[in-house]
């Protein structure tokens, strides 16, 4: 029934899913784990406050990835952050401009922003024009964002999600207009750029963690505790593999992987 070579893979998947489910239930029962504070989350209030003081907008982008591709999970994490930022913008009366790359993100973005401004206590501030869409061409997307940065000079530039090459232009324009730059993507090739250029960078899986830190949602926090246990399992597997290779029995591990 299960294809050859994928059986061990499936077992690892099921073990991880079981762990996540167990820790989510545990957290829902009231036993919340400790999560190391993420600097961006700690400062989010003052970042939005800075934009309010300067009277300039905040620009938000979820990057190239959408909800229909392999980067959907990153996009979802970005949208979760957008909903929180929208709430804070509603609270401090700051214009939040969300530029999306996918057409179907327009109604989702508008919904998130509308709800955020309502939660923040200023529903009158919301406008459908807060969500921009310029077609699904990366060049057009980048050109629009560069133009927006030059004409509106946002106080804060945020990009969270499956960011691709547009990150270069984002980072460059943020530095050029003096915006506080907040970036986060688990995509490999952009980690160094983010670490070097962004004022607040969510490196690797921190993007997923950020959502939990913001909301203090037991489900999120429990799943993060489970992630730590999953990492221990992965480290144990790596150790076993290293030992197997070094004692001259690599087939022990390769056999298991190919099962």
């Amino acid at each position: 029934m299960i294809l050859e070579g994928l059986r061990f893979d499936l077992i690892i998947l099921l073990v991880n899913v079981a762990l996540i489910y167990f820790f989510m239930r545990k957290a829902e029962g009231g036993k919340l784990p400790y999560i190391r504070p993420v600097p961006f989350i700690e400062e989010l209030d003052s970042i939005v406050g800075r934009a309010a003081e300067m009277g300039r907008p905040i620009h938000f982008s979820t990057g190239y990835g959408g909800l229909h591709d392999e980067w959907a999970v990153m996009c979802v994490a970005g949208l979760a952050l957008l909903s929180k930022v929208a709430e804070l913008c509603g609270k401090y009366r700051v214009w939040l401009q969300f530029t999306c790359f996918r057409g179907y993100l327009v109604p989702i973005g508008q919904d998130l922003l509308k709800t955020g401004y309502e939660k923040g206590g200023n529903p009158d501030m919301y406008s459908p024009d807060m969500v921009s869409y310029v077609g699904e061409d990366q060049t057009a997307y980048v050109a629009f964002i560069m133009d927006y940065f030059m004409s509106e000079r946002p106080a804060v530039a945020m990009m969270f999600g499956a960011i691709q090459a547009e990150m270069n232009h984002h980072l460059m324009m943020s530095a050029r207009v003096g915006a506080v730059c907040c970036a986060g993507t688990p995509r490999l090739y952009y980690q160094g750029k983010m670490a070097l250029m962004a004022d607040f960078a969510l490196l690797g899986e921190e993007l997923y963690v950020a959502g939990a830190s913001i909301t203090k949602d037991p489900v999120h926090m429990g799943s993060i505790e489970a992630e730590d246990w999953s990492k221990i399992i992965v480290l144990a597997l790596l150790l076993i593999a290293a030992i197997a290779v070094n004692i001259g029995m690599p087939q022990l591990f390769t056999g298991l992987m190919g099962w």
Binding site: H68, G103, Y104, K114, A143, M172, L188
Partner: protein
């Protein structure tokens, strides 16, 4: 409440395709149906082009009628759009000429990757702590490894650059990949269980 924000709708939208694709991945059963499901993304994409065109026309028409800032650019947008659209159907050589001598150079101007990266680093690189200094130092050593001038200055630059690339760089990339994969799995599990609703504004 918008239909998109209803939890049941979101669960059907994400969970059913996800479970179906997972089932197909591990068993190989119902391959064509799974492929068809993935293709629906492409169908959605086509609809989104309609929304995009409407949004673009609305924005630029408003800019022109209200004589907003930089409104002549909106006129240029309409002229370009219609010229490009019409020549695409009635005169392919002109279309190709526009593509080769107008659009491609404009795109290249935006996508001069190395120059963009260079200006990005020049404008915004910060050495706020010792980790930043370490990162910049590694970057310089890697550049000296790749550029012929590095080896001309000192024969050790290529060796150090290669070591940075093969040892610390690969180790960090693998660690990030593992963390990313586990995070992805956790988010996927939350979605399958209907617990991930923040993207719906809840």
């Amino acid at each position: 409440m918008s239909v998109l924000k209803q939890k049941e709708f979101a669960i059907i939208l994400f969970v059913v395709p996800l479970l179906f694709i997972l089932f197909n991945f591990y068993t190989g059963i119902a391959g064509p149906q799974a492929t068809e499901l993935i293709n629906w993304g492409a169908y959605l994409w086509n609809f989104s082009m309609i929304i995009g065109t409407y949004s673009m026309f609305r924005k630029h028409l408003l800019t022109i009628t209200e004589r907003q800032k930089d409104w002549p650019y909106s006129v240029i947008m309409f002229v370009s759009f219609f010229v490009y659209f019409i020549t695409g159907y009635i005169h392919t050589p002109t279309f190709q000429w526009i593509m080769d001598y107008v659009q491609t150079p404009i795109m290249m101007t935006i996508w001069v990757g190395a120059f963009t990266t260079f200006t990005m680093v020049f404008r915004g690189a910060r050495t706020r702590n010792w980790l930043g200094v370490l990162l910049l130092l590694s970057t310089v050593l890697t550049v000296l490894r790749m550029a012929p001038i590095g080896e001309a200055i000192w024969g050790g630059f290529p060796i150090i650059g290669l070591w940075i690339n093969d040892v610390p760089n690969v180790a960090v990339m693998r660690a990030i990949t593992i963390g990313m994969g586990i995070g992805l799995l956790a988010t996927m599990t939350r979605e399958i269980l209907g617990k991930e609703t923040h993207y719906l504004g809840e």
